[in-house]
């Protein structure tokens, strides 16, 4: 899109005013303007023929260079202006480097930023680094960068107190190292020496970051720079081979187990090296040895963290390296009393002793479970996890546990265990033994029946329960006649029934919500299982869900309605509902929710359910008409998602009622013919809904209506119909105000009842442009440069006016500035 001349003038005025007056307090507009200018520069850099490029012409015409020159010479301390100037310089340096440096503007800005009064502000330091980053990226800028020894400032910023400044410095330093690799290897070596200083000094490593001097870069920053550098495979290999990076990192891992952040940063770097595919088998072995050394010296948490990264590097490693795998699983195995196979006895005993401490036990279990979850382990872990779940369940009831209750934060361990179990159980091809699945089932039920279970745990438990029942069903253990396990199957269902009923009546809405969602998921996933369907029907589960439709909490009502919808998809269940509750009652109740419920969540779910009942033809014709009536009125709802769902319903109605635009003999339908096919849609109120939605203030609703109308227009080739003249429209509609979409009140009134009028209106309205406008976001307008510049000018002109009239800047009425 070409940039209008008026914008250039406004930007120039803005730049002039910025040098005179204080910048507005809210810097979001300036940030957005800078983003836009950056975009313009990028566009023009890519453009081949600049002479015709409006972006290039715009950049030539704005007085950015003059502005920057003025800013660089300002002696008074105006931090905000300097920050803006530095950022602007960073944006335009790609285009203007030569002009700027001819006047020594960039150098002056640099000097300005280095002045103590300015340097004190993190915003200035950050902006300077951004500018240097941009300068570095221009080829011609690198010489200047070196001449001015900018790297000294970058190094200085590595020690900064502001994390933004540190990150900007790290990013720039990484970039420099990568770029210097081929061009200036000596310089690169020098930088790498600086960066890797803390890795080479045992003293520095063991003393920690508190003893960092201004010449030794802190370890974390060093690792962060190396992370950026090692993304380049060539450099990664160079560091690994020539500078023994793995050796250094292993040393860090062994010496800095006390500092979680440094440790994590080291592991992140190892992950980066693996991702760059630079790590050889020798290096991998070195890391593995380090992991085992850590374990043997008692730093189990550190060992597990390293092990996880090693196993993550390759799925083959997980399956083939049994030692590492067992190390990862060792906290679980020790907890449940299993023996080890691939580790030393001494290590095993040491682990046992460590786990006596509650905190350590929890930490290690959590680390191990997190790793298993992220590694997406195979089903061979299932028995171990089931055993752990049983253990934590006993932990919650100390009286019954023969073991020392020493797992703190049990619920966190339980949550993680359930997470991992859910992942494994999602696999349809899982081969799990009955004992294991029953064990998991039992644990889930116990958790749900415990008053100590948190709401979040409850949700996860129900999720796990749903999955485990699938596998029980697959084993046919729930079928009474198989293998003589009738009692067991019956017992499972009984237990499930009691647990579910209790949860549906629980005091906490979160539990009721999870329970009712569980019913819907279960039936939906296991609709083919007769046992489950019969259980749902015979045990009053449906009635329980129906009760929840009248729950006091809107989330529960919504979940119950959704579950009811899922239940209705199973014909036997729907038959049961029709008999016990009655279709009339269902429709009436749900209709009442649409009309009267104060919460939008419930109304949305109610609309969905009614639409489903209508679509699946589950209600008789009288009820169908009632549903259509409800859907007509629901378009006036205040909630946009309710309205969207209403439109979706009418889209289905349209699809159902409207015949093909082309006759069976291949000819197009004529005007009168189209009128007659749209009449049913008109009679049931569909046209009213469309027109109301088209005029809605919610853009999403407007857009959907627009799309539906466009489909209608295209489908029935209404474009071919000659539109009525404009004054004729007024003659028909009478004197009436017409809104911007050409929908007047009278048009709406008439066209919604008169199909012919509707067709005439539809053929005349420009739906494409309405769609485009509806698609435009508010920000699409608000963020456009004209608007941004206008807003900034308004702020500055106000300040200018106040300064001229000696007025004070006041942020608020009726507020006295006391100081």
């Amino acid at each position: 899109m070409p940039i209008p001349d008026v914008l250039t003038e406004k930007v120039n005025r803005l730049l002039t005013l910025l040098t005179c007056y204080k910048l507005p307090n809210d810097d979001t507009l300036l940030e957005k303007l800078l983003n836009w200018i950056d975009g313009v520069v990028h566009r023009t850099v890519k453009c081949k023929d600049r002479s015709q490029d409006s972006a290039w012409l715009f950049l030539q015409d704005i007085s950015a260079v003059e502005f920057l020159k003025t800013c660089s010479r300002m002696s008074d301390s105006n931090v905000e202006l300097l920050t803006f100037a530095l950022k602007l310089c960073g944006c335009v340096v790609d285009v203007y480097f030569t002009e700027l440096e001819t006047n020594h503007t960039i150098s002056a800005l640099l000097q300005n930023a280095l002045m103590p009064d300015h340097w004190d502000h993190p915003s200035v330091r950050c902006a300077l680094l951004q500018m240097l980053h941009s300068v570095w990226q221009t080829q011609t800028g690198r010489c200047w960068f070196s001449q001015k020894d900018c790297m000294t400032q970058v190094k200085r910023c590595i020690f900064d107190s502001s994390i933004f400044v540190v990150n900007a410095a790290i990013k720039l330093m990484s970039l420099c190292i990568v770029d210097l690799t081929n061009d200036e290897p000596t310089d690169m070596d020098g930088l790498l020496d600086f960066v890797m200083q803390p890795l080479h000094s045992d003293t520095s490593l063991s003393q920690g970051d508190s003893n960092v001097t201004q010449t030794t870069v802190p370890l974390q920053q060093s690792l962060a720079v190396l992370q950026g550098v090692c993304k380049d495979r060539q450099l990664a290999e160079l560091l690994l081979c020539e500078r023994d990076l793995i050796g250094c990192l292993c040393k860090v891992l062994l010496l800095r187990t006390d500092c979680a952040k440094s440790y994590e940063a080291t592991l992140d770097l190892i992950s980066v090296l693996f991702t760059a595919d630079a790590v050889s088998e020798v290096h991998r072995l070195h890391l593995k040895t380090t992991a085992l050394s850590l374990a043997e010296s008692g730093h189990f948490l550190a060992a597990l963290q390293l092990t996880r990264r090693l196993l993550q590097s390759s799925s083959e490693t997980y399956t083939s390296d049994l030692g590492l795998t067992e190390l990862l699983q060792s906290p679980l195995k020790v907890t449940v009393g299993e023996n080890q196979q691939h580790l030393t006895d001494a290590l095993w005993e040491h682990m046992k002793r460590t786990l006596v401490d509650r905190r350590a036990h929890t930490q290690l279990l959590r680390e191990s479970l997190t790793a298993l979850r992220d590694l997406k382990v195979q089903q061979d872990c299932l028995p171990l996890l089931a055993a752990l779940l049983t253990y934590t369940q006993k932990e919650a009831d100390p009286g019954s546990s023969p073991l020392v209750t020493n797992v703190m934060g049990c619920s966190k361990v339980q949550q993680l265990t359930l997470d991992v179990l859910c992942r494994i159980l999602e696999d349809d091809n899982l081969e799990a033994t009955t004992e294991v699945t029953l064990q998991i089932f039992q644990c889930c039920v116990t958790f749900l029946n415990s008053s100590l279970t948190s709401a979040a745990m409850c949700g996860k438990t129900f999720q796990c329960l749903c999955l485990v029942l699938r596998h029980l069903s697959h084993l046919s253990q729930l079928h009474p006649a198989v293998d003589g396990r009738e009692e067991e199957a019956g017992g499972v269902l009984d237990l499930l029934h009691v647990t579910l009923q209790r949860s549906l009546c629980d005091m906490k809405w979160e539990t009721r919500d999870s329970a009712v969602e569980f019913v819907g998921s279960l039936v939906s996933q296991m609709s083919g299982s007769d046992v489950i369907v019969e259980w749902v029907i015979d045990r009053g589960v449906v009635e329980g869900v129906w009760q929840c439709v009248m729950d006091g909490e809107s989330y529960v009502r919504a979940a119950a309605l959704t579950s009811l919808g899922l239940l209705s998809e199973v014909s036997r269940v729907w038959e049961h509902i029709s008999v016990t509750i009655g279709q009339n009652d269902v429709v009436e109740k749900v209709t009442a929710i649409v009309q009267n419920d104060t919460e939008a969540f419930a109304r949305r779910a109610a609309i969905d359910l009614l639409a489903k009942l209508w679509r699946q033809d589950l209600v008789d014709s009288t009820r169908s008409h009632d549903i259509e009536k409800v859907m007509r009125n629901a378009i006036y709802d205040f909630d946009w998602e309710v309205k969207l769902r209403v439109l979706t319903f009418w889209e289905q109605v349209q699809g159902a009622l409207g015949p093909q635009p082309v006759k069976p003999d291949g000819t197009k339908r004529g005007h009168d013919d189209i009128t007659s096919v749209l009449q049913p849609l008109c009679d049931c109120g569909g046209l009213t809904v469309l027109l109301e939605a088209f005029d809605d203030y919610d853009k999403a609703v407007q857009k959907k209506a627009c799309v539906m109308l466009r489909t209608l227009k295209t489908s029935y080739a209404l474009n071919d119909i000659e539109p009525i003249p404009e004054d004729a429209k007024y003659t028909v509609c009478g004197q009436d105000s017409v809104n911007e979409h050409g929908v007047s009140k009278t048009t709406k009134k008439v066209a919604s009842r008169d199909v012919a009028e509707f067709i005439r209106w539809l053929s005349s309205v420009d739906l494409d442009s309405v769609c485009v406008r509806a698609d435009q976001s508010i920000d699409g307008y608000a963020d456009n440069p004209q608007s941004l510049v206008d807003d900034l000018l308004t702020s500055l002109e106000r300040i200018e006016h106040m300064t001229d009239t000696d007025g004070e800047e006041s942020g608020e009425e009726n507020v006295i500035d006391c100081y």
């Binding site: 993190p122 104060t598 969540f601 946009w640 009425e813 009726n814």
Partner: protein, 582 residues
Amino acid sequence: MMDCGMHMGYNDERRFPDFSYITRNGKLTDHLDCVIITHFHLDHCGALPYMSEMVGFDGPIYMTHPTKAICPILLEDYRKITVERKGETNFFTSDMIKSCMKKTVAVSLHQTVQVDSELEIKPYYAGHVLGAAMFHVKVGSQSVIYTGDYNMTPDRHLGAAWVDKCQPDLLITESTYATTIRDSKRCRERDFLKKVHDSVDKGGKVLIPVFALGRAQELCILLETYWERMNLKVPIYFSLGLTEKANHYYKLFITWTNQKIKNTFVQRNMFEFKHIKAFERIYADNPGPMVVFATPGMLHGGLSLQIFKKWCTSENNMVIMPGYCVAGTIGWKILNGHRKIEFENRQTVEVKMSVQYMSFSAHADAKGIMQLVRQCEPRHVMLVHGEEKKMEFLSKKIRDEFGVKCFMPANGETVTIPILHPIPIDVSLNLLKHDTVSQAAQDSPAPKRSKVIHGALVMRDSALRLMEPRQAMKELGLPEHEIRFTSTLTLEDDGQPTKTADKIYQLIKRHFGRHSIQQSSDGNISLSESVLVKVSGVDDDIEKEILVSWSLQVSLCHLVKLNSMSLVAMSSNNIGSNILSV
């Protein structure tokens, strides 16, 4: 994590906090014990579903009951506004809001919640909006108070903030109005009512864009009371659906309102308004005056913008903005004097209606902030949620008035605050008694003046006790050693040593009569059983040797300070004038 808000000025990744500063790997659960949300404003809770469901946090989220009830409404509203913006693909859904709310734990005021074995939190009333709280967070003996937004002045429906004198190590306080003192609320209210009344008198329509819940209820009460008093018949409307909802929540959480509301509630519910009715869209086209409260509050979409478009061309009409508007919104533009507004369909409208700004936001002003600092007596203060220059000024005031360090870190800065760790020590009763008696004997101590107490610090089984050395030695089974100082002086005196001793005895008795002074049969003098004086010499020899001996303890207590240089040779005639200084 204290609060988890969003930045309303941005619609890209900058609208949410950058959680990679906590960790780049995996969920936040391993790095955070809990999240605390102070109140339901989006700059404090707007990023919560993003954090818990998209970044990943499974731990507890603590907030008050009203906040838990109202948060989902505002989050849904925010979701809707964002859907109207482009680039919102990476945004939380309704289901995510529900899942997030399932992780929340509601807490009551002044309820101490044990998050784990070390960490406990306790909420205090903050005013500001319904359900807003300040949180006292404690780990061991260290504590922090985080205020969120608060108001030290009660208003029509909420009380004033209050906190215990808990002396936290750090008070993190908002400083929105760091250098301003609000004038009388009554003036602002009168001004507001006058403007509304004048406008409707002329037949104009008044639009008041508000957020669904929050200050809107305050304005409703204000208008209702005025309308009743002035017997006005002009209709006042509030967005349909939100009236009932707001009513419902304010009724439900009546205990969170101020005393007047609670007292009145028995007779009538102050939130059931006679003069304020539910609004329907078609009313906007009705002729005649009216007042409408419509959302959203910054005219950045929805019903309020729809109504604004219809009414802005008439000079008789008025729009009153009661709160902050983010830069770039229509609300901000008209407040900054834009008179031609271009809408998204390139339609430009000339704004002829009157535009007024009347701030009813309920933040503590400078006086209120100082009052809170005075109330809770923190050891350090940190200022947040304000502008740099104003914070600098307030920071100096706090340092000058309270003598505590005051920090105001910029976004992204780390501040390290050294805290003295108080170590609890039991003091033995014997030592206290002994010390009290001896200090009372010395002078009459001022009751509130701090005193020095000496004893032996004994650590046993991780418990520390301060006790008398003798008692400590006994408990520890250590033999006692006594260190004594001895000084020998020469004094010229005729006569027998025993006579010299008698003279010294009389002298000491005269000057130190309060102490226990004894003379043994062999002439040796003891003072308070700690100082010994022995005179030796030959009968005919004028020179006598005076041996003075005192214990280390006595030396420390300055009961006896023997300065041999001050021992004046006693003349035979004038022993009395020579003082054996003790």
